[in-house]
Symmetry: C2
Subunit: 383 residues, 2 copies
């Protein structure tokens, strides 16, 4: 892992990180304003005259036009596969359609798939690429903050089934990630904040300096100040990439990336994954719960937990279950029961990511369930 | 790769080979008569108390009972997923059913899948395991000679779609391969011969000594003499394993395993993949064609090609298209056109595996198409 520029050097754009896996599958993350307009020359220079299929969200037409033009300008052959909006794209049915489209159009082993859109598009397109001809190369071009700092790095791809979300999928690393910060200009504020929750997560896990930086500059990230935004994205990608490089298949270290997520998944399930609660918002509440449980268990100082949660509040993120509008009437025990169905549960016991302070998260199977229950009950109270 | 016992030492059963990949995913192939009855203790000793799902062919009831008893005897929890007979199991629909069954039964990341049956079952079960929770461990327990020497080693899994066979799939290496030679006792002679075609293929590719051994002992393999059978299987698995280890994702060396296969796939397609032509029979004709083309191009001595083809004839295998009953009336050019749709074609040019003699195969994109046409025409003539 090459480090991104440090906090004192945030003007040195564009940024490039290299994700080190096993040599053969190493890849770059390029973070650059308006990089979409240069995508054609970047792709042609790195991969040669490959045939390309863009798999994309229907709502990114303007970005697609920019991308398409830059690919055409260097003479690359491009086809376009447009997915339905939102989570329905992560279905068996939709996945089969994408694969059939690739095969009908006579994709061969040198064909590349470009995923243009948010996390849903990346998960769908990456999985389709993984399975077609037993694995086509693909490029992630994430257009939401959440996807830029989270799902586009790490190689997790997949779909949802009636049994649950992301229970079917593949580990398939991208050949390149292109992050165009300009695509965030039109992103709704609520989605910017939700993406920010995943950024602050990296600070909470193992980077107290990044926390100090975000505590000062977080607002600039949210209002899309170019330097702050690029630095936050690059630091997040670098953090995720270093964890992924160390532990590609999530046996241990990678589990820390699930900080706040066991709670988050249970809350999202309770909200039926609808717009009441965005994933990043659920993660914000989940991380607050993780700090609270850790404080209640005496693992983390109360002041430290309060400081972490206070930061989330100042950034305009929800930190309590009571903050969710129209949250269903369910008990802490029902939520705990939901968590046990999370796929991270193995052998029946729940793994929690807890913390001994900002920047010091750890995985444990020995969480006190009474502290978890108390934290959930407190989180549900309006006060 | 540990070498199997040599030709002079064929009594030293059972045999165990280790497939070396990257350290973490290395696995053993155990070749042993009646190993099914010991499967429980082997699996428990290696993998501990894992929950198991057997995915199997409906026709292997007797083998399943043996396996089930041995697993139960050591206290392992076993569920059973029975597939439809034959190729229909390699469909999207059927694959989704297996994955749904695994998820409904609350499979977790420590669950293992056991594939019991022929190549179809291995391809289906391995692919289902690859996708469920982004990858469950699985064990191959092949019960046909073809699967024992070919598809159960190497990690290729997949299904068929309307666009073609095996165009959708994953590379997913098994955690263990258990080969019980006793399962071949009830295998029809025609299928034994078809499996033998894949055995002799390894000799043709790069092992002239193995050819000499098979030329002497091939008949003993077909009549299931235990020592000869185990030696032939072990040598074949070792050969495939060494190629797979060197080149897991088929960029170069692994392509040699397709010796005879470009022709074979076109012939199978012409026969609509029905019982007129088993895969191994198609490979036998395909290898004969590869020798003939090589001889016509002056790459291989005529006597050498005649010796190779003569061996196949003596073993009761078809070597000419004219040997196929009810082969459709199609021209050499139509067959060549079929080959171009094979997924091994990249950038429009056909890769052929040709040979400069027994044990000396090589890949080339410079085959003489007029020699290919002549060889096909000769192969179609009854004389």
């Amino acid at each position: 892992m090459t480090n991104p520029s440090t906090a004192n050097d945030i003007s040195s754009l564009p940024q490039k990180l290299r994700v080190l896996l096993d040599g053969k599958r190493d890849y770059d993350i390029v973070i650059e304003r308006d990089v979409l307009a240069r995508a054609g020359s970047i792709i042609k220079e790195r991969f040669g005259d490959r045939r390309l299929f863009v798999v994309r969200d229907p709502r990114v037409d303007a970005h697609y036009q920019t991308l398409f033009k830059s690919l055409k300008d260097v003479g690359l052959r491009v086809d376009d596969i447009v997915l339905p909006e939102g989570e329905p794209a992560k279905s068996w049915d939709c996945l089969q359609k994408t694969i059939a489209a690739l095969l009908e159009a006579k994709a061969d082993r040198h064909t590349m798939v470009l995923a243009l859109g948010g996390g849903v598009v990346g998960d769908h397109a990456g999985f389709a690429a993984a399975m077609t001809l037993r694995g086509l190369d693909y490029i992630q071009i994430p257009t939401t903050l959440l996807a830029q700092v989270d799902s586009s790095v790490g190689g997790k791809t997949g779909i949802n089934t009636v049994q649950g979300k992301n229970l079917v999928g593949a580990f398939h690393q991208p050949a390149l990630v292109l992050i165009d910060t300009a695509t965030l200009r039109t992103l709704p504020d609520r989605e910017m904040k939700a993406g920010y929750a995943e950024i602050i997560k990296y600070a909470f896990i193992n980077d107290p300096e990044f926390f100090e930086w975000l505590d000062k500059n977080g607002r600039d990230v949210l209002i899309r100040m170019e330097g702050a935004l690029s630095h936050a994205i690059a630091t997040s990608c670098a953090s995720k990439a270093s964890v992924v490089a160390a532990d590609e298949r999530e046996a241990g270290l990678r589990a820390l990336l699930n900080f706040g997520h066991t709670f988050a998944h249970a809350l999202e399930a309770a909200c039926e994954y609808d717009r009441r609660l965005l994933h990043g918002e659920a993660v914000s509440i989940g991380m607050s719960l993780a700090f609270d449980v850790s404080a209640r268990m005496g693992l983390c100082h109360d002041d430290e937990a309060a400081r972490a949660i206070g930061h989330l509040i100042r950034m305009g993120l929800p930190t309590k279950i009571a903050d969710i509008k129209d949250f269903p009437r369910i008990s802490p025990d029902m939520l705990i029961d939901n968590m046990s169905h999370d796929k991270k549960a193995t052998g029946g016991r729940l793994t929690f990511i807890l913390t001994s302070g900002i920047g010091r998260a750890f995985a444990t199977r020995d969480a006190s369930m009474s502290c978890v229950r108390e934290a959930l009950a407190a989180s549900m109270r309006h006060n």
